[in-house]
Symmetry: none
DNA sequence: TATGAATGAGCGTTCATTCAT
DNA sequence: TATGAATGAACGCTCATTCAT
C-alpha cells in the first residue's frame, strides 16, 4: 500500500516536472531554459528535481518520450478506419489542428534540433517514426488489396511524402504567424485523396 | 577608393564570420555554440568580432539572412521554366538534394526554433517565405492560364502544401539517419505532377 | 532493563554508523564522502543517522575517537614486556604491518588533515598522543633503571623520534605504491635497537 | 617582445594563483576551499582563473608540483657535503625547521591525502620521492666507500627509515600544538649519527 | 583596428540537514 | 523511531561581453 502510494507519488512528480519542462522548452527553447526555471514552473526545489531526473538531458529525453502520444493517436485512428484514404482524409483537419498547435510545434522543432546531436534522442525519434511508418505502410497495403488505395503507388515513398507533409505543417505553423486556414486544410485533403485514391 | 576598399574588407570579414558561425551552429546548435568557437572558426579575435556584430543575436540574424539563397535559386528556376509543373518536377531531385543536405537542414531547424522566439528572426522568415509564396502563386496562376496547371486547384492552398512538403523533407532528413532515397524522390515527383497537372 | 537494551541498541547503531563512515572516509576522503554514502554503507536512512549524530562533524569526531585502538594495543604490549627494547623490536614487524595497512593509513592521514583545522579533533589527537608518549616514556625510564635502555638517552626526545618514525611509516605506505618490504622492516628493527639499547 | 611579456604575465599569474591556492589549502584543506576563495585570495575573477588552469584538479596538481622545492634543497645539500653523515647532521636542524613549518606541513598532509586517490598526484609524489631516495642512496653508498658511513648498513632500508622520520616530523608537527623543541632536534641528530656513522 | 585578458552573473548540479508522515 | 522527500545555499565552471594595450 505504502509502496503503491510511493510509486504514484513518484510518477506524479515526474509528470509534473515533465509538463513544466515542456512548457518552458516551448516558450524559451531547450537550451535557453535553466533548470531553475523548470523547478519554478514545477513548484519544486532544485534538489527535489534531481531526485526524479539525473540530469537536464534526462528531463529533455523524458519530455521527448512523453510527446509521442500524437503518433499513437494517429496510429489508432488508422487502425480503426475501414477505408484508409477516407479515414485519413476525415481525420486530417484534426491532425492538422494538432500539428499546428503552437506548443506542440515548438516542442517538435526543439526535439528535432536536439535529435541531430543527441544519440538517445535520435534513437527515440527514429523508433517513434518507424512505428508510425510501419502502421501507415500496413494500412496502405491493406487498402491496395481492398481496392481503396491506388495500386500503382510506391507505398513506402507515399508514406514518406505524407509524413514529410505532416512535419512540414508543424514546422511552418510555428515559424509562420498563423496556422493553416480552412482553405489550406481543404487543399491538404484534396492532395491526400488525389495522391492515394485509385485513379 | 580607400573607402570602397574598407567597405569591401568589412563585408568580407562579415561573410567570413557568418559562414564560420553557420558551420558551428549546424554542428553544435546555436545556443550550444560559444562566441569563442565562432571566433576560432573564423580565425578572428573576440574583440574583432564585436567590431562587426554587436551581439551574438546579431550574428544569428545575419546568418539566417544569408540562408535565404536557397529560396532565391528556386524562384529563379521557376521564373525561367516554360511549363511550371514540368520545370518543378525536373528541378525536384536537386531541390530535394539541397533540402536534405545535412548542414542546410540543421541550420534550417535551428533557424526555425529561433524564429518562434525572436521577433526579428520571425519577420525575416516571414518575408522570405512570402517572397517565395508570391513567386510560386504567380507561376501557378500563369500555368493555369497557359493550361499547364489544373484549373480547379486552389493555388494558395497548393503552394502551402508544396512548401510544407519542402520543409518536411528538410526536417525529416536531418532528424532521420538517412536522406530520402531515389524511390522516395520519384514518389515526390509523382505526387507533384498528379497534384498540379491538369486532370 | 528495557533501558539497558535501548542503550545497547543505541551503541550498536553508533558503531555501525562509525565503521561505515570509516570505510567511506578511507575510500574517498572525509570531505568527498556524502552523508548519503555513509547512510547507504550503514544501511540506515538519513533521518535515522541524525538521531545518533548531530552533524557530519560529530560523525568525523566519533570516527577519529574509535581509531585510537591501535595506540592502546601498543601500550598494552609495552606494559607487558620485560625488556622494552626487545619487546618493541619483536613487536615492530606487526606494528609496521598495522601502520602500513591501507585503510588505517588513509584514515590516519584524513584525521591528521582534519586535526589541523578542527579544535575538537586536535584535542582528541593531542590527548591520545600524550597517553602514548607517557606510556613510552615510563617504559623507557624503567628500562634505563633496569639497564636495558641506553642511559645517555634523552627519553622524551627518543620517544618523539620513535613516534615520528611510526607516523612516517603510516604516511609513506599510503602515499607510496607499496608498503615497506621485509628488508626495510629489518632496518627499522636495527635502528630501534641501535638507538635505544645500551652501547 | 610581446611574446615574452605575454609568457611572463602567464607565468606570473599562474604563480600568483598557485600561491593563493596553497595558502587557502593550508588554511582550510583542499576540498573545503572553494574556487571562489582561491580567486579572492589571488585577487582575480573566476573566469580569469580558468584561463590559467583548466580545473580545480589542475590547480591542486600545480600546487603539489610547486611544493617539491624542499626536496631539491635537501638534494643539493647532500651533493655538496664531503661527509654525508656530518652534512646531514648539520643540516638537520634547518631541515626539521622546514618540515615543521605549519603551512608546509598542512600542505604536505593535504597532498598525501590527495595522493591516495588522485593518480596524477600519486605519480608526482612517487617521482619526487624516487628522486630523493636515489640521491640519498647514492650519497650513502659513496659514504660507505669513503668510510664515513657504517658499512653494515642496508642502504635502501636506511634511506626508508630516514625519510619516514622526515615525513613523521611533518605529520606530527602539524597535528600537535607545537613543533619539536631543541632537545628533540638533538635527539634526531643523535639518532642519525648513531644510525649511519661507522661503529 | 586588432588582440586576448578580464569580468561576473548565471549555469547544471550536489549535499548537509530538516520534517511530515 | 524510522523514513526518505524536500530544501536551498553553495559548488565548480562557462561565456557573452568589455576594454587596456
Amino acid at each position: 500500500m505504502a509502496r503503491t502510494l510511493d510509486q504514484n507519488l513518484h510518477k506524479r512528480r515526474k509528470t509534473q516536472i515533465i509538463s513544466a519542462a515542456a512548457k518552458c522548452f516551448a516558450k524559451k527553447g531547450i537550451h535557453q531554459t535553466s533548470m531553475q526555471e523548470i523547478c519554478d514552473a514545477a513548484n519544486i526545489s532544485a534538489g527535489a528535481l534531481y531526485r526524479y531526473f539525473a540530469s537536464k538531458d534526462a528531463v529533455i529525453l523524458a519530455m521527448a518520450e512523453s510527446e509521442k502520444n500524437a503518433n499513437e493517436q494517429l496510429i489508432t485512428h488508422l487502425d480503426n478506419s475501414v477505408d484508409v484514404v477516407e479515414g485519413l482524409c476525415q481525420a486530417l483537419p484534426s491532425i492538422i489542428a494538432i500539428l499546428s498547435n503552437r506548443e506542440y510545434g515548438r516542442l517538435a522543432i526543439e526535439i528535432s534540433a536536439e535529435t541531430s546531436r543527441n544519440p538517445a534522442m535520435a534513437e527515440l525519434f527514429q523508433s517513434n517514426d518507424t512505428q508510425l511508418q510501419t502502421a501507415m505502410i500496413k494500412a496502405l497495403k491493406a487498402g491496395q488489396k481492398q481496392g481503396t488505395v491506388n495500386k500503382d503507388l510506391n507505398v513506402k515513398g507515399a508514406v514518406y511524402v505524407i509524413l514529410a507533409m505532416f512535419d512540414g505543417i508543424t514546422l511552418r505553423s510555428t515559424s509562420l504567424a498563423s496556422p493553416p486556414k480552412e482553405k489550406t486544410v481543404k487543399s491538404f485533403v484534396y492532395f491526400v485523396r488525389r495522391f492515394l485514391a485509385p485513379v
